[in-house]
Amino acid sequence: MIKAILVFNNHGKPRLSKFYQYFNEEMQQQIIKETFQLVSKRDDNVCNFLEGGSLIGGADYKLIYRHYATLYFVFCVDSSESELGILDLIQVFVETLDKCFENVCELDLIFHVDKVHYILNELVMGGMVLETNMTEIITRIDDQNKLEKQETWLRVTFGYSQSSKIHSKGEDFSQQRTSSKI
């Protein structure tokens, strides 16, 4: 089971938080803070696993993370998940984001956290891995986006359109990507 998925930047600012176990808002912030402190002090060339923090989990839980450019992607999982498998899942997640946002950068996550959630929901459901095949994931997301576009013909705010990017791109994630292992 995955207990939580956190994305924050190099300064510890949360960009996405998904808890599959209930914590109140204050606790959630503390967990994000603690996780950031644990993860951020590690070099980029050390291993991507570390024993869970004191607030979330305990002995059975592990933090598995990847660091892409300005963002940390952290998954808190228990012993039923394969460590390398989760690393690949993070890779799939980021690559999917990259496909959906066309060269994703931190700004995409800042302004479209809802979209990121919808994408994540196609990968993980209630703490369990739902789908790992990227083509399938992207088909589902595209379908849902189409559905949304049909409904919001007014395109006031919600329709996310690829052509109307408002902001300039930051650093590209893909530069730091390592090859997938599965």
């Binding site: 089971m1 949360p14 996405l16 938080s17 998904k18 599959y20 209930y22 109140n24 808002e25 204050e26 959630q28 912030q29 070099d43 060339n45 050390v46 291993c47 991507n48 696993f49 570390l50 024993e51 039923s80 394969s82 460590e83 390398l84 498998g85 690393l87 690949d88 800042i110 302004f111 956290v113 809802d114 959630h117 919808y118 929901n121 459901m125 209630g126 703490g127 369990m128 891995v129 739902l130 789908e131 790992t132 095949n133 399938e136 589902r140 379908d143 849902q144 559905l147 949304e148 409904e151 919001t152 007014l154 006031v156 705010t157 919600f158 408002i166 292992k181 599965i182």
Partner: protein
């Protein structure tokens, strides 16, 4: 027009969307909280609008603010409104928000049941998908109960996307509503063979999650998973399955043996590191579970260790980490194979990655031997000097102590060295493990007599230099604890001290007052011990000067401690002051008290076993559950509770346990003292003092100002005489310089050898008391009483459910009729809670919903009726369940009529199935061709259709046939009597079918087969009584044939005194209540035209040949008694049972090459139809159809003694019937086929 209006509305209202909000926050970095509170106000106004688009926008913004840590639960109702929007866009926003902030205690959730149900059943796939995803995050007990059935319906959806999500959601449903597990499990199991790999994977995922917590309940699924493992190529799923097997193998070692082969194949073949790693892990688990009996046992370990070495040597830190992790698992059972890689592990200790260093440390723990312990510890000590951060240093310290102390110092040959290590460790700054070091010091001092003098010397030095240890940094560490040990050791073994007086002085002089209370107490107590020792020796030597000196010293310094804030210190100090003054008084009178004083501290202290305290038997008359004080009055507590609940909904549970302050009365104090005394009496380290000591008169002491010497040392100094590890350095050849590494290595090897050889020759230097420790009489160390150690509230506790037992009648998922009433009520509650404007809107909606509900339920009822008529409810879940229940309840009433009083439990049968699967492999050739397990999915579906068609055909023909036979029988027999038998007949058949379907878990996935007809034969008949019998092989633990005899009274007068005299033949025996008598009497009377049933069980020694039993039945009617000759026939098919038939076992059998015997027969012109033939052949359930395609069928039966019989039936349109048989037993097969041939010819 309307559109334009809406558009205008939107433009006016949408003053700020999510993007604006984010941008706004970024632009107001200085005054972020202020800006956000302003936005919150805006959001609140937006939520008050009727426009759903505006609300959705507001909720989207709230979701973002939630991530930043703002509580948005107040908007729960608005979120639900947005969720209920018909538009997917808004619905998605609502569900996302709900999944972020709702949890199982959220109260508004009770309003959502109907809405979510509507969404789940929506025709739009993504509506249902969104609802499923959301539900997975916030489902609670009520929702799980009410929606379980809807989720189950989605399992049968045509869209894999929904099936997949529904399967995953089931896990959450089970967690919140454990009652759903048993009724839903068969469905879930089916999904393991879903055509869509995603659904399959999801099902594996859920079952793995369930099985991980309660593995024993899922052992019976091992064959299914095994098949998946050998056939699947989906790495994600394989990883899960392999992990699951890792959890199952400890429970069933035979499973492990079966797994080794395919797992090693995978290890060799896979290129995916993640899969490789999990395979290794499970192989390790297998190797742990099977201790011996594997031929290539060592080969597997070597393979694992080899592969792990490759992982550890990899440049990827992740692989290195995992390699070490897995290595430590092997270490527990096969330390030798790991020790060969010591170099690698030591290398990892130098890694820059802390996680890897910690893992390497774990490994080192198990790699230590007598030869290597000094070297390894030395190495760790140098690491400690260099280590940054106290956390890692503490970890190192702890590991050093663990390494040295494991198994009662198994690996330590030189205890002086160990004491030196411990003393060295005392100098580490800021450690949290002072207590650990102290324990070790005391343990060694007690256990190793030979090293005691050395230890005492070192401890005296420690005491003398206490100020160095307890430096300014000591405040945050627990290093002062070592002084506890030092003081205690010096006191306890004071006779070994070189200069007791000096030690006493250093104890008194040091900054005792600044130490923690419990250490002060030990100081005080051991001062007395020292004092007693000094007095005793001084008296012997008549050294009055010395006596006076120490007495004065104590009397001078102790008063400070008498006024200590710590009660324990105060009590002990004042006690000692009085003893000392008493001694002083005695000395003034010229009495010698040294010997008396020594009596206080008499007795040897021995190590005490860790569980000794727990095992102390409870003395008679002591009830630990009785309150010591009067319990606080209940009413008060209740008031308190109510009060708290009203104000603090989520009051911290710990606050409930707060106790009021109270002043102890004199009596209570006395009681407390008694308790404390009892505690002290049980404390092994507490030195018991004779009771008369306390009787000394109380006497006030003035507190004096004592000049305290301030010796402030910032840098830990080398203390003269204090041991240091330097002198042991010659032992190891470790140097850190890289340049000289190679040369050094060679040299060190030589040295090592030299040292170790001398090590081996020299006997151990010290005798160590390695007992477990003292235990109270009669208690054993080994018996432990740990049960389920999971916390009470762990939801998995409730899921520890046996899944192999058939469903009971009351085990159904709640159906709609159940919640109909409830949802109406919640609708009303909903309406109440709403503000008036929203309420009206809501009401109309809920009314609509109610109407829809009613219509739906009406429809459902109609459908139910329809499907009942057609008796073909394959796609209706509820009906399926109902059917199942009917069957089980039928079975329930059926069992228990056993005359012999023996019944089979289904559980045993399932276990037997697993046994069958596991044992099969052991006898067969070890390498099973993998392709054999694969089943082409496409053709599978095809076959299913065919079988479906076949089934309906056979059903029709069967009913026809039944009618026919009825007519025929009617002709030959009297109508009225016949009826009764006819009535009893279906009962038997339903039971047979029941056993055949319910007991076999694996069969349920196979296409449904025709139910076997009963094997009804005439036993005996006269004008008054008619007896028919059926036989069935009861496969299972008991391996017996069940004979069911039906007695029918054909006359109009009652028959009584029925007695069956049936002597056993040599090879066939009845299971009797009274084994000595051949006679079985039936306790009942057969009334006029009544029929009854009795069941008898038989066991056969040889099941390969047919058997006959002859006997007679006697009865009385109207005073006169008559006899009837009885002949029971047992053709070999009676010993066969088709219950364990499944397609996989069948194909496995055929491919295994076990079936050596062959036989066949042909019937050139068979008059029966194909389905009739099948009915004939499966009569009595002795053979079961495994697969039936067109006009051919394969059948399977297993004898009570475990022989397999496989039969292939081919029917050509010309009427030519060929039956081919294969079996493990030749005689059995030929006899069985002979019987089948005769029956087929007869019925023709």
């Amino acid at each position: 027009m309307a559109l334009r209006k809406v558009k205008g509305n939107l433009e006016r209202m949408f003053d700020k969307n999510l993007t604006d909000l984010v941008r706004g926050i970024r632009n107001n970095k200085e005054s972020e909280p202020k800006y956000i509170s302003q936005c919150m106000e805006e959001i609140k106004t937006e939520l008050r609008q009727d426009n759903l688009a505006v609300k959705a926008n507001a909720v989207a913004k709230l979701t973002y603010l939630q991530m930043l840590g703002y509580d948005i639960s107040w908007a729960g109702f608005n979120i639900i409104e947005v969720m209920s929007s018909p538009k997917f866009t808004y619905k998605r926003i609502g569900y996302l928000s709900a999944s972020q902030c709702f949890h199982q205690d959220t109260e508004v959730l009770m309003l959502t049941t109907n809405m979510i149900r509507k969404d789940l059943n929506s025709h739009n796939m993504y509506d249902s998908g969104t609802a499923l995803t959301g539900l997975a995050c916030f489902i609670n007990g009520d929702l799980a109960r009410d929606l379980a059935n809807d989720v189950m319906t989605l399992l049968a959806s045509t869209k894999p996307y929904l099936r997949k999500k529904a399967v995953l959601l089931l896990y959450k449903v089970f967690l919140k509503f454990p009652e759903a597990l048993r009724p839903a499990f068969p469905r879930l199991k089916e999904k393991l063979e879903d055509p869509d790999p995603g659904v399959q994977s999801a099902a594996v995922n859920v079952i793995c999650e369930l099985a991980r917590k309660n593995p024993k309940n899922y052992l019976s699924l091992a064959p299914v998973f095994f098949k998946l493992m050998t056939s699947s190529t989906n790495n994600w799923m394989l990883i899960k399955i392999i992990k699951l097997f890792g959890a199952l193998t400890p429970l069933e070692p035979r499973l492990g043996k079966k797994l080794i082969e395919p797992l090693t194949n995978l290890i060799h073949s896979t290129s995916a590191m993640s899969l490789l790693y999990e395979c290794i892990n499970t192989v390790i688990a297998v190797l742990i579970s099977i201790s011996s009996g594997m031929p290539n046992h060592n080969a597997s370990i070597q393979l694992c260790v080899q592969k792990l070495r490759i992982l550890i040597e990899d440049s990827d830190q992740n692989l290195k980490y995992l390699g070490l992790l897995a290595m430590s698992k092997i270490l527990k059972t096969h330390p030798k194979s790991v020790q060969a890689h010591k170099d690698l592990v030591l290398q990892c200790l130098d890694d820059k990655d802390e996680s890897i260093r910690l893992r390497a440390l774990d490994l080192l723990y198990g790699m230590v031997t007598k030869k290597t312990v000094m070297e390894i510890v030395r190495r760790l000590m140098t690491h400690m000097d260099r280590a940054e951060g106290t956390m890692y240093r503490d970890e190192l310290l702890q590991k050093i102590i663990l390494i040295c102390s494991q198994n009662n110092f198994q690996y330590i040959t030189n205890f002086e060295w160990y004491i030196s290590v411990l003393v060295e460790l005392c100098r580490m700054e800021g450690t949290q493990h002072g207590g650990l070091i102290a324990n070790q010091l005391m343990d060694v001092a007690i256990r190793v007599v030979a090293v005691r003098e050395f230890t005492v010397g070192q401890m005296a030095l420690l005491l003398d230099n206490a100020h160095v240890i307890v430096g300014p940094a000591a405040a945050r560490s627990s290093i002062a604890e070592v002084l506890y040990a030092a003081a205690w050791i010096c006191g306890e073994f004071s006779q070994l001290l070189a200069n007791p007086k000096a030690t006493l002085e250093s104890m008194v002089r040091g900054k005792v007052v600044s130490l923690p209370g419990h250490i002060q107490a030990i100081y005080v107590h051991n001062m007395l011990k020292l004092y007693a020792h000094i007095i005793a020796t001084a008296e012997e030597e008549d050294d009055t000067e010395m006596i006076e000196e120490v007495t004065n010293l104590l009397l001078e310094r102790l008063p400070v401690l008498v006024s200590s804030g710590d009660l324990e210190v105060q009590e002990r100090a004042s006690c000692i002051v009085h003893i000392v003054t008493y001694v002083q008084k005695c000395h003034k009178n010229g009495d010698k008290v040294g010997a008396d004083l020594a009596l206080l501290m008499m007795g040897e202290l021995n190590p005490v076993a860790p569980k000794a305290q727990k095992k102390v038997p409870l003395p008679d008359g002591l009830d630990l559950d009785v309150w010591l004080n009067d319990p606080p009055s209940e009413s008060e507590e209740e008031d308190d509770e109510v009060y708290r609940k009203d104000i603090f909904v989520k009051a911290d549970s710990s606050s409930k346990h707060k106790k009021e302050k109270y002043e102890p009365s004199e009596e209570e104090l006395q009681r407390l003292r008694d308790v404390r005394k009892a505690e002290q009496a049980n404390n092994p380290y507490y030195v018991k003092s004779p009771a008369n000591v306390n009787t000394l008169p109380q006497h006030l002491v003035k507190a004096e100002d004592i000049p305290i010497e301030n010796l402030y040392m910032n840098v830990p100094l080398k203390i003269q005489g204090m041991t240091s590890l330097d002198k042991y350095q010659m032992v190891d050849g470790w140097q850190d310089g890289k340049k000289r590494h190679k040369k050094q290595k060679k040299r060190s090897k030589k040295k090592d050898r030299a040292v170790s050889s001398s090590d081996e020759e020299a006997p151990p230097m010290h005798v160590v008391n390695r007992d477990v420790g003292e235990m109270p009489e009669g208690a054993h160390f080994s018996d432990d009483n740990e049960a389920d150690d999971r916390p009470e509230d762990d939801p998995h506790r409730a899921l520890d459910i046996n899944l192999d037992e058939p469903l009971a009648p009351n085990e159904v998922l709640p159906t709609r009729s159940h919640y109909e009433a409830k949802t109406q009520r919640t609708d009303e509650e909903e309406a109440k809670s709403l503000r008036s404007d929203a309420a009206s809107q809501k009401k109309s909606r809920s009314k609509k919903e109610k109407k829809e509900k009613k219509e739906k339920s009406k429809k459902a009822k109609k459908e139910e009726k329809k499907s009942k008529k057609s008796s073909k409810g394959g796609d209706n879940l509820i009906l399926d369940l109902v059917d199942e229940l009917k069957e089980t309840s039928l079975q329930d009433t059926e069992t228990g009529t056993h005359v012999n009083g023996i019944d089979n439990s289904n559980k045993q049968k399932v276990a037997d199935d697993l046994d069958f699967w596991l044992s099969r492999e052991e006898t067969s050739v070890p390498s099973l061709p993998v392709e054999k397990h694969e089943e082409p999915v496409v053709s599978d579906a095809h076959v299913k259709d065919d079988v479906e068609a076949e089934k309906t055909k056979s059903k029709k023909s069967k009913t026809k046939k039944e009618k026919k036979t009825k007519k025929e029988k009617d002709k030959s027999e009297k109508r009225s009597k016949k009826k009764e038998i006819q009535e009893a007949e279906p009962e038997v058949s339903s039971r047979n079918r029941e056993e055949y379907e319910e007991t076999n878990g694996t069969v349920s996935q196979e296409p449904e087969r025709t139910k076997p007809l009963p094997f009804l034969r005439m036993l005996a008949e006269d004008s008054v009584l008619k007896m028919m019998y059926t036989t069935a092989a009861m496969d299972g633990v008991m391996s017996e044939v069940l004979v069911c005899i039906k007695f029918a009274n054909l006359s109009s007068k009652p028959i009584s005194n029925l007695q069956l005299n049936l002597p056993d033949s040599g090879a066939l025996k009845m299971v009797r209540i009274d084994p000595l008598s051949d006679i079985i009497s039936f306790p009942w009377t057969l009334e006029a035209e009544e029929s009854r049933e009795a069941q008898l069980s038989f066991t056969a020694e040889d099941v390969t040949i047919p058997h006959k039993l002859r006997g007679f039945l006697s009865y009385t009617q109207e005073g006169g008694s008559s006899q009837l000759n009885v002949r029971l026939e047992f053709p070999v098919v009676n010993f066969l049972s088709g219950k364990t038939a499944s397609r996989s076992t069948f194909t496995d059998l055929l491919s295994s090459g076990q079936l050596t015997a062959r036989s066949s027969f042909t019937v050139p012109d068979c008059q029966l139809s194909f389905s009739e033939i099948l009915d004939e052949m499966t009569r009595g359930g002795s053979l079961a159809v495994v697969e039936s395609v067109d006009q051919t069928a394969s059948m399977y039966g297993r004898s009570l003694h475990g022989h397999h019989v496989c039969v292939l039936v081919k029917y050509q349109t010309s009427g030519r019937l060929t039956v081919d048989g294969k079996s493990t037993e030749g005689t059995l097969l030929s006899n069985a086929l002979d019987h089948l041939k005769t029956t087929l010819m007869q019925t023709k």
